[in-house]
Subunit: 237 residues, 2 copies
Amino acid sequence: MAAKSSDDLKLLGGWFSPFATRVKIALNIKGLEYENIEEDLNSKSDLLLRSNPVHKKIPVLIHGEKPICESSIIVEYIDEVWSNAPSILPQDAYDRAIARFWVSYIDDKLLACLKNILAGGEDEEEKKPHFEQLEEEVLVRLEEAFNKCSYGKPFFGGNNVGFIDISFGCFLPFMRVIEELNGKKVLVDDKFPALANWAANFAADSVVIETLPEIDKLVLFAKALQQKWAAAKAAAQ
Amino acid sequence: MAAKSSDDLKLLGGWFSPFATRVKIALNIKGLEYENIEEDLNSKSDLLLRSNPVHKKIPVLIHGEKPICESSIIVEYIDEVWSNAPSILPQDAYDRAIARFWVSYIDDKLLACLKNILAGGEDEEEKKPHFEQLEEEVLVRLEEAFNKCSYGKPFFGGNNVGFIDISFGCFLPFMRVIEELNGKKVLVDDKFPALANWAANFAADSVVIETLPEIDKLVLFAKALQQKWAAAKAAAQ
């Protein structure tokens, strides 16, 4: 086995995972090379189970011999260790608290809406309150947050992709999938002009462009997930 | 109205709130004076609603004119702004990632167990899986984490109360309440020797001792909460 340098970076991820995407973007911002290891969630590797024994989940970043778990924690770790490269979190402590607030909001509220809509499958009644929450509350809040945080610049983080951008942007492909599966646009330009513009900037940015999964492939992945959840639900009844 | 200095600190909290307790301990570690404002959750102040318009929850720390929300984010903010005073988070980026990991675990798993046990009221069957998760999984993990993080010292943070100590320790009074209400000890010395010893050190520490609510008063608070939840559950059926 080759000796490992302390800057040796391995990402245990999955092409479909918004959380692994976060780590990829953070590594790109810092210009770091890493080995990307695709995990099969139906047959997790010993390395994953050993590296994240508590949650047994991707992503895990292994830095040298040290595993770091949970996407937002990994992003903060990358930002702190490679602090000379472009910053991901704001420099000012108050701005950092605000960024952490919105990242927590995204992981809580936005994620729940997207999951519940996906889990709703074809059941329009079941999906309705979650679409309402997404369109009338969560995206409205995030549109307001963008206008406050960005100071007229293209990203939440100002001129460059930052912590909120990474955390929110990794869900854009799943939002596109939900739009495809439900035959309607969610991130409507007229209703969310700042976010629609931001989303286009984000997806085209050089640190992001190659990290996002293809929508067609993700639609198939999402359909398989829906079938799996529906079968589990039927079995539980 | 008197002019506000930029170091003017107000805490919108509640004596019963483990999350407000976190902020109080962090402020004590830094030796900061603050105005403690007790919120009535049945009639929230305009200041709270204005300061945390998204979640409308305590605690909020107002620093000068700036509100900071969410207890863990507030603790990190305090640590970063008053960085010359004793540290709350570890200095090393990897140790900081590990501390954040356990804080996230505590906020997710430990909190859910305690809430579910409390919500179970007198229903032993309903409470059973949550007691099992607490006693066979969550506290076992935290005992292991203590042994790894503390390096034989009295706290997760080493010689002093740190980020994990604050986050976990704020739930100790609620664990005591659960022990009282269920007539059994949870944090059993023989099973969790490191945590039992840590809990005694924590509660007696000078930065903590006056922040923790009285158990008798918290038992009454918890019983009122149980009645409120039971009534809401009955109304929903």
